[in-house]
């Protein structure tokens, strides 16, 4: 198959990692909370899933059940992280940046400990064919795509639908824009913040699980996961806080990120070892450009939620 189509499909599959991460982060940010713990949460999602697979991988249960248990465990572990984050920042009104960074440091470290103790042959080998349904066994690059990839797209679209087409979404956006107003009309601000953060964290955690088990499916995958957590946060800005835009954004990021490997196929470009890291900077450069362009255009809809990063306390006036 054409090398450039391979490139595109590979980028799509790769991009699903940050599609999860940034969809999760967008939900949290829409509630007014800047969760810098996303890299740690994605790591813990991956670790939680692998841990479960490792536990029951050889138990002889039906593969479908094992996979489902893995996904649920990834969700549970990352939502637990989200719960810690919300307790600290919503209930105790701790500084969101500090809390998020602490969770990242904690999550990344704990994941490395857990993953180094697990047996990759157990958590990777088992149900790989299931993840790649219905493309498993194909010889072309379509085999990179699978259930979790399509789930990422579904989640992104569903999140946008909820945010912009339902009352729950309207309330959630009101909480992130102006919690005092939301409170005054009887919306339970804390409940929305907790829910958005926990669900968002769960979605982000799936991204970590997807990256380790499905996309990379290698023993070393977990070592590079943190970087993609940060990329997910950058992608939120790229997507202008719209979950469905992350589908395009993550593909662009995927293309940019993996272009260093494919660009060698163009005859007249010579890529040396020293230029590769430069090429890997491209997603971040593009994020900066998007940030500049969206600030220059200064359209209110493209700005971050107004109360992003601010704690809400009813008695503050």
């Amino acid at each position: 198959m054409n090398i450039w189509l391979n490139f595109l499909i590979d980028s799509l599959a790769f991009g699903a990692t940050f599609m999860y991460g940034s969809t999760g982060e967008i939900l949290t940010e829409k509630a007014g909370h800047l969760n810098l713990g996303i890299p740690g949460i994605m790591c813990m999602g991956g670790a939680g899933g692998c841990l479960m697979l490792n536990l029951i991988g050889k138990s002889g249960l039906p593969p479908v059940l094992i996979v489902t248990a893995g996904i649920l465990s990834a969700l549970a572990m990352s939502m637990l992280m989200g719960l810690i984050y919300s307790f600290l920042t919503v209930t105790l009104r701790a500084n969101q940046n500090v809390t998020g960074l602490a969770l990242t440091t904690f999550g990344v470290g704990l994941m490395k400990v857990i993953m180094s103790k697990l047996d990759a042959t157990v958590y990777l080998v088992g149900p790989k064919a299931l993840y790649r349904w219905p493309f498993a066994g194909r010889q072309d690059s379509m085999q990179c795509l699978g259930v979790l990839f399509f789930l990422a797209i579904a989640v992104a679209i569903a999140s946008s639908w909820v945010l912009y087409r339902t009352k729950v979404g309207l309330h959630l956006r009101a909480v992130g824009e102006n919690p005092a107003t939301a409170d005054a009309v009887g919306i339970n601000v804390s409940r929305y913040k907790y829910a958005a953060t926990c669900i968002g964290s769960g979605i982000a955690g799936l991204g970590g699980f997807y990256y380790i088990i499905d996309y990379m499916a290698s023993q070393e995958a977990y070592l590079s996961l943190e970087a993609f957590g940060w990329l997910s946060i950058a992608l939120v800005i790229f997507a202008l806080w719209r979950p469905h835009v992350t589908i395009i954004g993550s593909t662009v990021f995927g293309l940019l990120f993996s272009c260093s490997s494919y660009i060698t196929n163009i005859d007249w470009i010579r890529v040396t070892m020293s230029t590769k890291p430069l090429l890997k900077m491209l997603p971040y450069v593009v994020t900066v450009l998007v940030l500049i362009i969206s600030s220059i255009r200064n359209k209110r809809e493209n700005q971050p939620p107004s109360s992003l990063g601010l704690s809400y306390f009813r008695e503050d006036r």
């Binding site: 087409r165 339902t166 009352k167 309207l170 309330h171 956006r173 009101a174 824009e177 102006n178 005092a180 107003t181 939301a182 005054a184 009309v185 009887g186 919306i187 209110r300 809809e301 107004s306």
Partner: protein, 568 residues
């Protein structure tokens, strides 16, 4: 037709700490009437209404809606009883459309359907004559449109009793008359409308009955058709109370600050200062009276350089002729600058320019006291930043109303707060902490500031002590002009008198004191002259020794002709 009671309040009392905001208030509101609640700043109008709207909970008393007793603990309870309040500061999500804001938080059965909401909003708008586009975003709206959204928001929730807190404060005359016609239509529809206001002309224009509050107490409720501006003013301000503030006659009062035709617009383009002109004299206290938000804050801020005025002049006049130059307030740079401008002589009429002299020699000569000014200092302060004003050697002190926001840094101790005035002194980038420390000790001693120590964060001190620290610092700067905005707000009696005394001392030292106050009794007893400001324009400057409360009250609230003429 028999009038039907919609809302009754009986014996409502509310305290905040030791301060009584409302005392045994009884109030009746009928169906299909517009009731005005009238009173001065801080008389408890808004507090009272907030208790009906569920923001506060009364300490004592009962509220009845349609004859049954109700307990209102939150805005939700208020809505459940058909009560909705439109606050002065709108609670709207800027990024949403009008319809989205209106439907926010409403518990309705069925699918979320913005089209149906739009239709219902349009229907309400048509019924009462509002002009609104349900799909317009709030950030694209004018203040009046936002207010319309707030009113429809309340109506959409089915409110029968609407409370509007100072609804006309932010509107143009055309918008006000449109609002009033909408209110009349709602009244005809059987709604009860309560408007909180202190504008007499509007009370007379729109209301059916007026309830007057003074110092938290309900003075009277009268039929609007049986009353007039003078009677209402009298009930609003009450009899004069003697405070026994010691006031001395001004000695050698000489003009110090000339403000001429000052004009200022705020960020929204509202004309907040209109051709303000006055003269403040050294050795007297000039009071500024006015309804809160009439431009007092903007006036002081534009004089001190925080808000640059658009047109007009602020002239600082400092009699300096034949007085010795000092380094106390003039920097070396400024002294050299003035020297180059031929501003000094050596006492025998020979000009002193300091040209080509080394700093040490200049310092020595100036400190000997032999260098004298040629002329009085006349400086235009408009378009100068606070720092430039300070560098020019103009000793202008400003005690802002927001003490811990603009005046002091709450988390720093007294010494560090003193340094906010002197941090530019000291050598080679190092701060001089000794003098501020000594000044801090001096202020604690002289003004009897009760604090655990000089390094206790000022935020932890009581309001009176915070104010003493702030005023003490500004006075230590030996100002020529001292501006104080609401310096006794929230202070107990003793602290208030300490502040009055400090201001009087400054007056005796020849300082031009500008005192913005809200209590007319204090203004009348403390100040020498009182300037009355109304919607950003000066409506009169009266002699505090002969003026009456009613006179000032009328100047503060009277119909604003200037504003009507200006409107397009």
């Amino acid at each position: 037709m028999e009038k039907q009671l919609a809302l009754q309040m009986r014996g409502i009392t509310k305290r905040f700490g030791g301060v009584i905001a409302n005392k045994q208030v009884d109030l009746d509101v009928y169906r299909g009437e517009i009731m005005a609640v009238l009173g001065e700043n801080g008389c408890g109008k808004t507090t009272l209404m907030n208790m009906i709207a569920g923001i506060y909970f009364p300490d004592e008393g009962k509220i009845f809606v349609d004859g049954r007793e109700v307990v209102i603990r939150s805005p939700k309870d208020a809505f459940a009883n058909g009560i909705g309040m439109i606050h002065q500061h709108f609670k709207l999500v800027d990024l949403f459309t009008a319809a989205e804001n209106i439907v926010l938080g409403v518990k309705e059965k069925g699918k979320y359907n913005l089209k149906a909401v739009n239709a219902r909003v349009a229907q309400i708008a048509e019924k009462y004559g509002f002009r609104i586009d349900p799909q317009k975003k709030i950030y694209d709206m004018s203040v009046s449109e936002k207010q319309t959204v707030e009113i429809i928001k309340v109506l959409y929730r089915g409110a029968d009793i609407l409370i509007l807190d100072e609804p006309t404060a932010v509107l143009t005359p055309q918008e006000i008359s449109r609002l009033f016609s909408v209110l009349r239509r709602m009244k005809e529809d059987g709604k009860s409308i309560i408007i909180i206001t202190h504008k007499l002309n509007e009370v007379l224009e729109v209301s059916d009955r007026v309830a007057i509050l003074r110092r938290g107490e309900h003075i009277a409720t009268v039929e609007t058709k049986d009353t007039n501006e003078n009677e209402l003013t009298e009930m609003m301000v009450g009899k004069k109370i003697s405070l026994n503030i010691n006031r001395t006659e001004p000695k050698n009062a000489a003009p110090r600050l000339f403000v001429k035709n000052l004009n200022l617009y705020d960020a929204e383009g509202v004309h907040v200062l209109r051709d303000v002109s006055f003269t403040a004299c050294g050795g007297e206290i000039l009071g500024i009276a006015g309804i809160a938000g009439s431009g007092q804050r903007e006036l002081l801020e534009s004089i001190s350089g925080l808000q640059p005025a658009v047109t007009g002049e602020i002239i600082f006049h400092n009699p300096k002729k034949n007085k010795p130059v000092t380094f106390f307030h003039k920097s070396m740079k400024r002294v050299r600058e003035l020297g180059a401008q031929n501003a000094f002589h050596d006492g025998k009429g020979n000009p002193v320019s300091f040209q080509g002299m080394r700093p040490g020699a200049v310092r020595k000569w100036v400190e000997s006291g032999d260098v004298l000014f040629n002329e009085d200092e006349i400086i235009n302060l408009r378009h100068r930043t606070p720092l430039q004003i300070r560098e020019l050697g103009v000793r202008l002190s400003f005690v802002p109303e927001d003490r811990l926001g603009m005046g002091l840094v709450g988390s720093m101790g007294i010494t560090d707060n003193m340094m906010l005035r002197s941090y530019r002194k000291g050598r080679a980038g190092f701060l001089d902490r000794k003098k501020p420390r000594a000044l801090a000790d001096e202020i604690i001693q002289d003004l009897e500031v009760s604090t655990p120590g000089v390094n206790t964060p000022v935020r932890r001190l009581s309001g009176g002590n915070v104010q003493k620290v702030l005023v003490g610092r500004e006075i230590a700067f030996t100002p020529k002009v001292l501006m104080a905005a609401y310096p006794v707000r929230g202070l107990d009696i003793n602290s208030s008198y300490t502040i009055y005394h400090l201001l009087n001392m400054q007056k005796e030292n020849g300082v031009a004191v500008i005192f913005v106050g809200e209590d007319l009794d204090v203004l009348l007893e403390l100040c020498d002259r009182i300037l009355v400001i109304n919607s950003g324009a000066v409506t009169g400057i009266v002699d505090a020794r002969t003026a009456t409360k009613e006179e000032i009250g009328l100047l503060m609230t009277k119909t604003d002709d200037a504003r009507k003429e200006e409107a397009p």
